[in-house]
Subunit: 230 residues, 2 copies
């Protein structure tokens, strides 16, 4: 994630990643980032399920730090839509997506991701293209979820537009949470669809990549929609 004044929704990137032989001086980078990542990880892993109250005091005691950095981290999480705040009542993890939100989310993905796939097929770097993996070798649902996130992230980045990559990354967080609530999704189909997309991108076939991505998202929507009765 390159520097970008427009790189809205700053998810503090892991400092230990993507720095092959960086000669920069080690910057402790502060407690806030660490607390941020900790809480964010807890939300993504459902250790903090949706609509769970998050107490500043409790977190301070649990993590052994004072309230100030925790409040800052929660403010950032709030700006990123992972928690919500009520005045004098504290923070709470956001509610799980309902049907209407799922619809909106996939409408947005359907608008942006096929376009991103086309552009990625046309201009993606060779190394990133080689790193694409369908998630076939995933050993668990959690492992597949992570590989799926990486798959879509790589393609979004391959489109060469930070705004596209960032907005899709932000949305994918909620897909991840939603999926984690229902562990019965069929991953085989998704793996096959991923393979089709990878093949189109490796062939530098933009139109085919776009169509394959569109189909993948539509089917993915169908697989997820059934989990909501409403």
């Amino acid at each position: 994630m390159a520097k970008s004044a427009l790189s809205v929704g700053k998810l503090p990137s892991n400092p230990a990643s993507a720095q092959p032989a960086d000669r920069t001086i080690t910057r402790p980078s502060g407690l806030v980032e660490e607390v941020y990542r900790r809480i964010r990880a807890d939300i993504l892993s459902l250790r903090l399920p949706p609509e769970t109250r998050v107490s500043v005091d409790s977190l301070a005691r649990e993590l052994g730090v004072s309230q100030t950095p925790i409040r800052e981290a929660l403010s950032m999480l709030e700006a990123n839509g992972l928690v919500s705040k009520r005045h004098f009542a504290g923070y709470m993890t956001s509610a799980r997506m309902d049907r209407a939100q799922l619809d909106e989310l996939f409408e947005f993905r359907l608008l942006v991701e096929p376009y991103a796939a086309r552009k990625a097929a046309q201009g993606m770097g060779e190394s990133d293209m080689a790193a694409l993996t369908s998630g076939e070798e995933a050993s668990s649902h959690d492992a597949f979820a992570d590989m799926d996130t990486a798959f879509h992230r790589l393609i979004a980045q391959g489109a060469g537009n930070h705004l596209i990559a960032d907005s899709l990354a932000r949305l994918h967080i909620h897909v991840h949470i939603f999926r984690s609530c229902f562990r019965r999704e069929i991953t085989e189909e998704a793996v096959h669809e991923h393979d089709t997309i990878i093949a189109a991108i490796r062939a530098r076939n933009g139109a085919k990549a776009e169509a394959a991505m569109r189909g993948h998202i539509e089917r993915s929507y169908g697989r997820l929609r059934d989990f909501i009765k409403e």
Copy 2:
């Protein structure tokens, strides 16, 4: 802006707005929100130009509050991409868009806004549609900038997808800042283009609205691009 777990990028909405006869008890809503809006307004009005250092101490003295709420507000602004932080060095307003970022921004708008215009034409509410204004009666560049923001916001909301509305709103902030740096833009053309779009939407002509919006954004890009030599 309706409540939405996905309503990422929470820009604390003005509490005095859009509450015609609300019977809810007055919630002071805290210093943080007020500080947030104050700093945000200062950035948008160029009272805090791009790449200006923002000192927590100075702000605390200037606003007469302690550092804690200011730090929280700045954390939110950072998550929204309006300021950036360097550890132990403080906050700084984000840099003005360069050519590459302008290109990415308008590529994104060109992808999303025409689609939003089509959907708005098909399903927009009558009252919102009546509120659409081209900005003809704007008396200054600043006034036109605000009306332009409202114009695009109404259409984005008319599309009925909070994710679309939110992401476009966030991007438009940067368009606003960019434009404010160069006050020589021709607004007459934009007004005319707005009128074309309004006519198409009022006629419930989705295809025409989409095309008109596409043309408007392309021309708007052309008008803004000239301000960057690089």
